[in-house]
Symmetry: C2
Subunit: 210 residues, 2 copies
């Protein structure tokens, strides 16, 4: 990468970070390109050079957050797919996933996307595709590999993945969505819920008889 | 009930219906008490006589919608709790629940509550308590009774209820939340998903060996 390109990439990154902080604290309507420029310590022209308008900028914040989240999920599922003992590893993965997905910033962004879904349908569709569905696909590949290795019984790995996430997150995610970030569940409570969900999930999809 | 009371109750009902339609089409900020009054064909003073302010009115819309939804759920779970054959009845219940909860108006209200959760924490907490948790409790009582009758194995009926809802709704509810009401899932697709979820749920919590 040439020096100019490195500088440009660094600026893009700076702007995205500043935009993310601003959108999350002020909402979509409350955020101005001026404020993002000031927070990123660049000129307003620079912001517009990298992102055509506010909606494009918000879309890019969403896309890059989804990509980051998926990278983590891919790395933990790769470990599980090659593991010898499913139960303990799946429990560990479930706890890590919960902690990661119940992150305060991620929850705020999620709420912001839902709030604007009717007004900016493309935004929500992007998050659904790049975030939600890619996560399901990653998990499904992992369950497929474990099934092929004889360590799980998931005839429809994609449905199994949705059941896994649903069992794990139905309570904590809804509680977070509805009650805001005012009273987050404790790590201990989330861990206990993750363990109970893995137990029931493996009763349905594991190979050991119940 | 005296004649004056009947009239007052009817007005409350009229105002709530008008408010619900207005909030859902214009959002919280876009709704004015004037517009609600006009749509309900009452004076603005009458609206304020029944509801102190816009936030109170919105809270009541949320509360009454939650109550209506729960009444339906209670009636269908009562049937299941006394049924002889769990599988077919649970499948029927799952399909009915999905159809009911994926109703366009209900989804819009849900999105509106999430959008305002950080700004009006009490609103989201009310919905979580009167809507989300009451639904879980109703389902949990049903699973407890079926377990006591020897037709299910749910040692923790509350967790089992959250797993049931999570398996059933993780995909359709998130898709609806993120992609708006622009492209709803077909009834046939929702039914197939409900059937697959009941099958996996009973593999974990049913009494028949897999």
């Amino acid at each position: 990468m040439r020096k100019g390109e490195t500088r440009s990439a660094r600026k893009t990154c700076q702007i995205l970070q500043a935009a993310s902080v601003t959108f999350l604290s002020k909402g979509y309507d409350g955020t101005s390109m001026d404020e993002v420029a000031a927070k990123a310590s660049v000129s307003k022209q620079t912001v517009y050079k990298h992102f055509a308008d506010k909606e494009t900028l918000f879309n890019e914040v969403v896309r890059s957050t989804a990509t980051q989240a998926n990278d983590v999920i891919e790395s933990v599922t790769t470990l599980l797919a090659d593991a010898e003992f499913v139960e303990g590893n799946l429990r560990q993965l479930a706890r890590r996933l919960t902690t990661m997905l119940m992150n305060e910033e991620l929850l705020k962004l999620r709420r912001l996307i839902i709030a604007n879904a009717d007004r900016m349908p493309q935004l929500g569709r992007n998050w659904y595709k790049d975030g939600f569905e890619r996560m399901l696909d990653t998990m499904a590949s992992c369950f497929e590999r474990l099934t092929n290795r004889g360590l799980m019984k998931a005839t429809d790995p994609h449905i199994a993945a949705s059941h896994f996430f649903g069992m794990l997150l139905w309570i904590p995610m809804n509680e977070a969505m509805f009650t805001g970030n005012s009273n987050p569940l404790s790590k201990a409570k989330l861990d206990r819920h993750a363990d109970a969900s893995v137990e029931a999930f493996l009763a349905a999809y594991g190979i050991k008889p119940r």
